[in-house]
Amino acid sequence: MRRLAFIAPVALLALVLAGFGLGLRRDPSILPSMLIGKPLPAFALPAVRPGDAGLSSQALAGRPALLNVFASTCGPCLIEHPLLLRLKAEGVMVAGIDWKEPGAQGAAWLAQNGDPYVLAGNDPDGRAGIDLGVSGTPETFVLDRRGRVRYRQVGAITPEVWRATIQPLLARLEAES
C-alpha cells in the first residue's frame, strides 16, 4: 500500500506526457465553425456589382461551392485573390460576400484587382456575417451540393491550405451525390 504511493507519481507522469504528446498534434489556432454539417443560414444580399442579381443562400445549393468573405480594406484578401481567380476560370462556383462596407467600395476593389466571383452580395452592416459566425476577413466556407457547410477557413487560403485541405475536400464533394 505504502509502495503504491511512491509509484503514483510515475503513473501520473505517464498520463500527463501521453496527453501532451497527443496534444501537440492539435492546432490551438483552428476555430471550428458551429455550422459544420449544418445548412447555411438563410440570407438574401443586395448586389455588389451594379446591375447584378446579388447573392442568396438558395442560389448556392446544387453544386459544391466556395463562399468567400472579403472587404476592400483587407490586405490578406489579396493573397488568396489569384487562387480564387484561377478557380473561377476552372469553373468552380465561387461566391463572395463584401463584408461591412458600402457595395461601391467592394465593386471598385473588384474592378481594380479582378473579379473572381460568380455570385456576389453585399453585407454592409455585417448581419449575414453574424449568422455565419464571421470573425473577420478573409474567411471562406466550403459548401456541399445540398448547401451544407463542410469546412471553414479563417484567414487567407494559402497555397498550403489549398493543397492540403480545400482541394481534396472539393474533389470529394464533387464525387458525392
Binding site: 505504502r2 511512491f6 507522469l13 505517464a14 496527453g19 501532451f20 504528446g21 490551438p28 476555430l31 471550428p32
Partner: protein, 656 residues
C-alpha cells in the same frame, strides 16, 4: 569566423557535458577519486565553452552579421544596440543557448564551490547536471543550431518582435531562466541522494542555498514579467492567468514549498521523501514551462517562436529526466528513513500544512492551464478556462494559506501549546482588527471583501514585523547586541512574509476599487475620471529610432495633484505596440493608454488602479528577503554557499 568559433565551442561543450555525465557517476560508483576530479574539471570547462559560444552569438548580433541566419531573422541595423544584444536570447535558438549557459554556470558553481559536500554526493550531482546539460546542448546542436549561415547573406535583417524591445524584457527571460534552471541543481541533488540512498539533515543544509538561489531570480522574474505586461501590453492588468505566466507560477509554488520542506528536513530530519519528490517535480515543472513556451501546445500572447517539432524534443527531455527520476524515486524512496515525529501543533506541522496548500494550488493552476488540451483529448470542445476559474479555485486556497503564514514562524519546533501561541499572536490580531475598522469607516459596508483582504494583509505585515521585534524586545537589555546577532535568516523570513502582505494589499486595492473608462478625445478636450480631470493637450507624430509614434500629451489635475502624462502608440515596420502613460503613486496609479484615431480625435482608455504598485513592491521585497537569507547561509556554512550568492548577483540591480 566568429559564428564558426561559436559552433565549435558548442560542440566541445557537448562532448564535455557527456564527460561530466559519465566520469563522476562512474567515479562515485567505484570510489575513484580521479574520475570524480575529472567531472569537476569537465563542469568548469563546459561552463567556459558554453559562455564562449554565447559570447560569439552576442558578438554576431552586435556586429549585425546577417550571414548568420539567426541574426538576420531577429535584428536589423536600425535596432538600438541594447536590443540587438537582447535579441541574442529573444529567439528560440538564442534562448535555448541561454538555458544551456545558465545550466553550465550552475554546474561550474557546484564544481567550484561545492568543496564541503560529501565527495560522492558532489560527483553524482555533477553527473546528473552533466546529463541534463548534454540533453540541452544536443537539442541545440541537432535541431536548433544558432550558428547556421545564410548564403547569400541578406543586406538587412528582420526586426526583433517590437513587444520584446523593452528594458523589462531584456532582463525578464534571463531572470526566469536563472530560476527555472536553478531548480536543476535541486533536481540533481535529489537524484544524487536517491542514488546514494541517503537523505539527511546535511543533505538538506547543502541543497537549501541552491533552492534559494533559484527561487530569488524566479520571484524577481515573475514580478518583472507582471510589471512588463502591465505597462507594455496596454491592458492595464497585472496578472492574466495566461498559460505562460502560469508556467512560471507553477515552479514558483512548488519551489516555495520545497524551500519550506527542506527547512524541516534540515532542522528536524522529517519529510525526507516528500522533499525529494518536490525537488524532482519543481524542476519538471520548469521544463514544462519551457515546453509550453516553445511547443505551441497552447495559444498565448507570450508564445514566441513556436514549433511543434521542437515540442517533441523538449517533451522527450521532460519524459526522460522526470520519468527516470520518478522511477528511481519509486524504487529507492520507500527505503529512506521516514524521519522524526512531531506534534499536531508544531512548526513542522505548520510547514506541512503550507506544503499541502502550495501543492494543491500548483495542481489547480496545472489543471487550469492544460485543461484545453485534456478536454479536447477527452472528445470535448475547445474550451480554455479563464480568470473566473482561478478566482473560484485559487483564491479560496490562497486566503487560508495567507492567514496561516503568520502562525508558522510563531510556532516552536516539535511541539507547542495553544495558550502560549495565542499570546504571541495577540499583537498581529489587534493590528488586523484595527485596520479592518479603519477600512470599514473609510469604505463602508459595500467594500466588505476589500476590508477583509486589507485586514488580512495587515495581519501578515504585523505578524512578519513581530518576528524580529519579539526577539529584540526579549533582548532589550542590550538592544544593540541583540540586533547585531539576529541571524539574517530571521530578517529574510520576516521580509519575505511581509512581501506577501504588501502583495495582498495591492491585489485587494486594485480588485475592489479599480475604475476604467473608454472615450474619444480631441485635443483641448478634458474629461473627469476617478477624482481627476484629464485634458488632452496635444496629439502629434514623433519619430523614434526604428518606429513612428502617435504621441498624446495629457494634463492631469485634481485631488491627487497635477502632473503631465505622455502616452504613445508606436508603429514599427511590422507591428504596433502601446506605451501606456502611467502616473505612479503609493496610493494608486493613473493608467492612460492611447488607441487608434477616431472621428478626428483619438480613442483613450483610462484606468485608476488603487494601491497597485504594492503588488510589485511585495514581489521584490520577497526576493530581497530571500537574498538576505542567502547571506545568512554564507556566514554559517562558509564555502558552499558562496556559489549561489555569486550566481544570483544580477538580482539586486534589478530589484532596485
Amino acid at each position: 569566423m566568429v559564428a564558426e568559433v561559436g559552433q565549435f565551442a558548442l560542440i566541445l561543450a557537448f562532448l564535455l557535458a557527456l564527460t561530466q555525465a559519465a566520469a563522476p557517476l562512474a567515479g562515485a560508483h567505484r570510489g575513484d577519486l580521479t574520475l570524480m576530479a575529472l567531472g569537476r574539471a569537465a563542469a568548469l570547462m563546459q561552463a567556459g565553452f558554453v559562455a564562449l559560444a554565447f559570447i560569439c552569438l552576442a558578438v554576431s548580433y552586435v556586429a549585425c552579421d546577417f550571414s548568420v541566419a539567426l541574426v538576420a531573422q531577429h535584428a536589423n541595423t536600425a535596432q538600438p544596440l541594447a536590443y540587438r544584444i537582447a535579441a541574442s536570447w529573444g529567439s528560440h535558438e538564442g534562448s535555448m543557448l541561454l538555458w544551456a549557459l545558465i545550466l553550465a554556470i550552475y554546474g561550474g558553481a557546484v564544481a567550484r564551490f561545492g568543496g564541503t559536500l560529501r565527495e560522492t554526493l558532489q560527483a553524482r550531482v555533477l553527473g546528473v547536471q552533466g546529463l541534463v546539460g548534454a540533453a540541452f546542448l544536443g537539442f541545440l546542436i541537432f535541431t536548433s543550431n544558432p550558428f547556421l549561415r545564410l548564403d547569400p547573406a541578406p543586406v538587412e535583417g528582420v526586426e526583433l518582435n517590437p513587444l520584446l524591445q523593452d528594458p523589462g524584457l531584456v532582463s525578464h527571460p534571463p531572470l526566469l531562466y536563472l530560476g527555472y534552471v536553478g531548480f536543476s541543481v535541486a533536481f540533481a541533488f535529489a537524484v544524487a541522494a536517491l542514488l546514494e540512498g541517503r537523505v539527511d539533515a546535511a543533505w538538506a543544509r547543502w541543497v537549501r542555498p541552491w533552492v534559494l538561489a533559484a527561487w530569488i531570480p524566479l520571484t524577481c522574474g515573475i514580478t518583472l514579467g507582471s510589471l512588463w505586461a502591465y505597462y507594455e501590453l496596454g491592458w492595464g492588468g497585472w496578472w492574466f492567468w495566461d498559460p505562460v505566466e502560469n508556467a512560471s507560477l507553477m515552479p514558483w509554488l512548488l519551489g516555495t514549498a520545497l524551500l519550506h520542506s527542506a527547512l524541516v528536513l534540515e532542522r528536524r530530519g522529517a519529510l525526507p521523501s516528500w522533499t525529494i519528490l518536490l525537488a524532482i517535480l519543481t524542476f519538471s515543472l520548469s521544463l514544462v514551462g519551457t515546453f509550453l513556451v516553445r511547443s505551441g501546445i497552447l495559444t498565448s500572447v507570450h508564445a514566441f517562436a513556436v514549433d511543434p517539432e521542437r515540442g517533441i524534443w523538449i517533451l522527450g527531455i521532460i519524459g526522460l529526466f522526470t520519468g527516470a527520476a520518478l522511477i528511481l524515486y519509486a524504487w529507492r524512496a520507500p527505503a529512506l528513513q521516514s524521519g522524526a515525529l512531531f506534534a499536531p501543533l508544531s512548526r513542522e506541522a505548520g510547514i506541512t500544512l503550507n506544503n499541502l496548500f502550495l501543492t494543491v494550488m500548483c495542481a489547480v493552476v496545472f489543471l487550469g492551464t492544460f485543461s484545453p488540451v485534456f478536454i479536447e483529448l477527452a472528445g470535448g470542445d475547445k474550451i480554455s478556462v479563464g480568470p473566473p476559474y482561478y478566482v473560484r479555485t485559487f483564491a479560496p486556497l490562497a486566503v487560508p494559506l495567507l492567514a496561516l503564514v503568520v502562525f508558522g514562524p510563531m510556532l516552536n519546533w516539535k511541539r507547542d501549546a495553544w495558550p502560549a501561541l495565542k499570546s504571541r499572536l495577540a499583537i498581529p490580531a489587534a493590528a488586523a482588527g484595527a485596520v479592518a475598522l479603519a477600512v470599514l469607516a473609510f469604505g463602508g459596508w459595500k467594500s466588505l471583501v476589500a476590508t477583509a483582504a486589507i485586514s488580512l494583509s495587515a495581519w501578515l505585515l504585523a505578524g512578519s514585523a513581530a518576528i524580529p521585534l519579539r526577539r529584540w524586545w526579549a533582548g532589550r537589555a542590550s538592544l544593540g547586541r541583540t540586533i547585531r546577532t539576529t541571524p539574517p535568516g530571521v530578517i529574510g523570513l520576516s521580509m519575505a512574509h511581509a512581501g506577501l502582505g504588501l502583495l495582498l494589499l495591492g491585489v485587494a486595492g486594485v480588485t475592489a476599487w479599480q475604475q476604467d473608462k473608454v472615450t474619444t478625445m480631441q485635443p483641448g478636450q478634458s474629461v473627469a475620471f476617478a477624482g481627476r480631470t484629464i485634458a488632452l493637450q496635444s496629439l502629434e507624430l514623433v519619430d523614434g529610432p526604428n518606429y513612428q509614434a502617435r504621441q498624446a500629451r495629457f494634463a492631469v489635475g485634481g485631488r491627487f495633484g497635477s502632473h503631465e502624462l505622455v502616452g504613445e502608440r508606436r508603429a514599427y515596420a511590422t507591428s504596433q505596440t502601446t506605451e501606456a502613460a502611467v502616473h505612479v503613486t503609493p496610493l494608486g496609479n493613473l493608467y492612460v493608454s492611447v488607441g487608434d484615431p477616431q472621428d478626428g480625435g483619438i480613442v483613450v482608455r483610462m484606468w485608476s488602479h488603487p494601491l497597485i504598485m504594492w503588488i510589485w513592491t511585495g514581489g521584490f521585497l520577497m526576493a530581497a528577503g530571500g537574498l538576505v537569507s542567502l547571506s545568512d547561509r554564507r556566514l554559517r556554512l562558509g564555502a558552499p554557499a558562496r556559489a549561489p550568492a555569486r550566481v544570483s548577483q544580477p538580482v539586486p540591480a534589478v530589484a532596485e
